[in-house]
Amino acid sequence: MSSRFVVFLIPIVVIAIFWVMAKSEKKLAHDPTHKSFFERNGTVLGVSFILLVAFWTLFLVVLPYLYMVVESFHPKLPFNQRGGEKDVLTLEQYKSFFVTPTDGSWNVNHMGAFVFTIITSVAVTALNFAICYPLAYYMAQAGTAQKVRLIMLALIVPYWVNEILRAFSLRLLLASKGLINQALMGMGLTEKPLDFMAMDVGLYVGLSYAYLLVMIFPLYNAIESLDKNQIEAARDLGAPWWKIHRDVVIPYAKPGIASGCTMVFMLAAGSLAAPQFLGGPSTLWFTSIVYDFFFQAFNWPRGAAYAFILLAACIAFVMLMLRLFKVSLGETIK
């Protein structure tokens, strides 16, 4: 049985699972007056719900990923050889991340890009948090309603501008003959223009800016529900401002912080546009490599394998962080 064939068995399994769930709902409910799924919705509507949800889960969520997983365990073959005797399950695509297939040496280039991507994403997340926390705190606790509305507007309106335009405008600012270098030289602070692009300043600024809202709203939501009296109580008991944040605000907002950081980290590590436009000439972002495998080399199996390596690493990293900071996964999506 071909491994790709498994993919077509799954729809039936998924529909069956939903069916069993709908059927057993009444039994699992402790409330005896609880109406079952079909009693509530009628048979026709109930069946169409199950089919629609199954379609959604399958065709938009499970199948595409599953196809990619399967793909990543196959060798790259011309179309006419697919399903032939050379089309076997293999780990060679995953292996190629560590060892270059052509000469058997360590694949320093790709592993280096991978580590760089992860570390940069962590740094971007930290930078983003440092920028967003004070702002979110101000919006949630300190600011008047009118000022908060103004800040919200100032935060959201720039996102109406498309990503490419935003990235290139940043490039213009940071270019060697750009506004910032001109200003620095004009004030006599530097003699030669600073190469911000090579220093990856553009990358950090661009990525932080791109995901500002993703960080600020979970933080704002979390801090906003904190009872003001808690802050005042801590202050009244003698705590200076930074201890109030350390002991009262941050522990309370921890789920929001975890949620914001997780999303920013995941999005930054998987971003494509900002690193391509704002990275320095020698900067190699991991998703660019994945992109090239898919669209330049037409090596889908290897691209898929690389993408899953990134996904697995990011999930593992996030889980580790959540464990370290004692936040449950459920809390972050509240």
Binding site: D227, A233, A234, R235, L237, G238, A239, P251
Partner: protein, 361 residues
């Protein structure tokens, strides 16, 4: 350990709105002092000004003789108990209680020892490791008190801390608060809209209305010798009879009301022709005829038996009915509905005050 609190012509404004107007007060060290008034009267504003969360627009606050201008709430020798208690939900009971000591850098071992002592004081021994959410309402109350006392404040400020409790517990906590105050001996400033709380616990009470302190005195005086119609009508039940003074001397005045000429004490020295309100408390009325200028005839609307007493409601000249409280011991016959009844009072139990704003019903 205790310190007095002086308000020196304190005025607090929020934009156009004046929340507290020219409050001058001298609260003595070790006193249990209450601010009593309806919501929005400015009592919480005073508390926040004393604790340092608000700066007076004019005037000064002095604690222990020291001017507090420019000193933040974290540097003042006061501790505040919030209306909703504001305990830290993510900390244990012991961590809550010792938070003020922790931010002062006290070592953990010493802190935990202190937590033990305070838990004993509030009668919750060995509950230090529990989370706040595992405690009952009354226990949370006591933890909030312990947390405030832990920093050894000279003045404890309490913002209606009992309002969330049910009646029985509230009455019990009154006694307990008073006992704790006497034990630790520091100044308590208590904010409440509940006159029962103010009367039972306080050494002295300031009655407030619309940002103005109406009267400062002990509970008995506030009840028996109100200074203004507001105090007379806000503290305890009272029956007002408005009218014009027809004759007056230094001790008594007669007011011509819708129920005829009625006599009462004249502490404010009103003169004939002044507009005035005579107040007679429900328990000061007695059923039956009395002196002609201290007797009212009115139709009975209803009566309510309340165990230890019966309230009789008579039709007044205005919309508000006249309430008469009849104790059980007299064995008096309660007039039935529709019956015309006579009630009287001893003239010294009536008090004539100059016309002024009354408490809203």
């Amino acid at each position: 350990m205790s310190a007095g609190v002086e308000l020196d012509h304190v005025t607090v404004r929020f934009g156009q709105f004046t929340a507290v107007e020219d409050a001058t007060l001298d609260i003595k060290g070790g006193e249990f002092f209450s601010f009593l008034g309806p919501s929005g009267c400015g009592k919480t504003t005073i508390l926040r000004t004393v604790s340092g969360f608000l700066d007076p627009s004019q005037g000064r606050v002095r604690i222990g003789g020291q001017d507090m201008t420019g000193i933040g709430p974290n540097k003042r020798p006061t501790a505040l108990i919030f209306q909703n208690l504001a305990l830290f939900p993510l900390m244990t009971v012991a961590d809550n209680i010792t938070y003020g000591l922790r931010v002062r850098g006290m070592p953990k071992a010493e802190r935990m020892k202190r937590a033990g002592e305070l838990l004993d004081l509030i009668a919750l021994p060995d509950q230090g490791n529990k989370l706040v959410s595992e405690l009952s309402g009354g226990q949370k109350q006591r933890v909030a008190i312990a947390r405030a006392l832990a920093v050894q404040p000279k003045v404890l400020l309490l913002d209606e801390p009992l309002s969330a409790l049910d009646l029985k517990l509230r009455q019990h906590m009154r006694t307990e608060l008073r006992a704790i105050q006497q034990q630790v001996g520091i100044t308590f400033i208590y904010i409440t809209h509940d006159q029962g709380e103010a009367l039972t616990m306080s050494d002295r009470i300031a009655v407030m209305s619309d940002g103005v302190i109406q009267q400062v005195s002990d509970g008995k005086n506030v009840y028996d010798h109100p200074d203004t119609p507001f105090v007379a009508s806000f503290v305890g039940e009272n029956n007002p009879f408005a009218g014009k003074v027809t004759q007056a001397d230094s001790s008594f005045a007669v007011v011509e009301t819708a129920h005829g000429a009625l006599r009462g004490r004249n502490p404010k020295g009103l003169k004939a022709g002044d507009k005035a309100i005579l107040f007679v408390r429900p328990e000061s009325f007695v059923l039956g005829e009395g002196a002609p200028d201290a007797t009212i005839h009115a139709e009975t609307i209803s009566s309510a038996f309340e165990g230890n007493a019966t309230h009789v409601f008579l039709k007044g000249a205005t919309k508000k009915e006249i309430t008469v409280t009849v104790g059980r011991h007299g064995g008096a016959k309660i007039p039935s509905q529709g019956e015309r009844a006579a009630i009287h009072y001893a003239p010294e139990m009536g008090i004539v005050l100059p016309e002024g704003k009354m408490a809203r019903e």
